[in-house]
Amino acid sequence: MARTKSTGRTNQVRPYRRRAEMTQAQLAGNVGVSRQTVVSIEAGDYAPSVYLAMRLASIFDTTVEALFDEEANT
C-alpha cells in the first residue's frame, strides 16, 4: 500500500507562496485554514485533504501535482 503518512514529505507550497509574495497568514486566509495549518503543510508535517490541496493549487494557478508530487519535484 502506498505511504499516506504526511510526516517527512516535501512539497513546493513554500516556494510557490514566496513567488506569489504572500505571507503564511494571507495564504491561510485565502484558502480558509489557520496559519498553523499552512506552517505544518510547508514543513511537511501535515498532508492536506484533496480539497485543500486543490484550493492551494488554484491560488497559485498551478496543479496539485506540481505542489505535492515528490517524484515530479525531485
Binding site: 485554514v33 489557520s34 495549518t37 503543510i41 501535515y46 492536506p48 485533504s49
Partner: protein
C-alpha cells in the same frame, strides 16, 4: 449502515460535538481526532489498571465500583465499534498483530484484576464473577469479530 442524517448519526455527532467550530480547520480536526484516540486508549488501560489496583488494595468493598468502571469501558467500546461499523470501517489490525505489547499488557491487567476479585470473594461468588467475566469477554469478542466482518464488507461492494 447509518445514513448521514440517521438518528444514530445525529446522536453520535451530538455526543462527539463534531459540529463545533473547533473542527472547522482540517488540521486542527485531524489533531483532535488523534488526541481523542490517544485519550480513548489511555482510558482503556487506565480503567483496567485502576480496577486491578483497587481490588488488591481496597479489597472486597472495591469490587462493585470496579465493575461499574469496567462496564462503562465496555459501553464506550461498544459505541466505538458501532460508529466505526456505521462508517463501514473496521478498527482492528491484522490478526498477526493480535499479540502486540498493548494487548499483552491489557491481558496481564485483566488477569491481575480477576485474581484480585477471586482472592476477595467466597468460592460461590468467585464462580459467578468468573462466569460474568467469560460472558463479558465473549460479548467483547463478538463485537470485535463483528467489526472485522464490517471491515471486510468493503471488499464485497458491487461495481456500477
Amino acid at each position: 449502515m447509518a445514513t448521514p442524517n440517521s438518528t444514530f448519526d445525529r446522536t453520535v455527532r451530538w455526543i462527539g460535538n463534531l459540529d463545533h467550530p473547533l473542527y472547522d480547520d482540517e488540521r486542527q480536526r485531524h489533531i483532535w481526532y488523534e488526541a481523542s484516540a490517544i485519550a480513548f486508549q489511555a482510558s482503556l488501560f487506565g480503567v483496567l489498571a485502576v480496577a486491578a489496583g483497587a481490588v488488591w488494595i481496597g479489597g472486597r468493598e472495591a469490587i462493585p465500583y470496579t465493575v461499574a468502571f469496567i462496564t462503562v469501558s465496555y459501553i464506550n467500546l461498544f459505541i466505538f465499534s458501532a460508529y466505526t461499523r456505521s462508517k463501514r470501517t473496521g478498527y482492528l489490525p491484522a490478526r498477526s498483530d493480535a499479540l502486540r505489547p498493548r494487548t499483552l499488557i491489557s491481558l496481564g491487567l485483566a488477569v491481575l484484576y480477576f485474581a484480585g476479585v477471586a482472592r476477595n470473594l467466597e468460592w460461590a461468588a468467585a464462580w459467578i464473577v468468573s462466569f460474568a467475566a467469560i460472558l463479558g469477554f465473549g460479548v467483547a469478542a463478538a463485537v470485535l469479530a463483528g467489526n472485522r466482518r464490517g471491515r471486510n464488507l468493503d471488499g464485497d461492494e458491487e461495481l456500477g
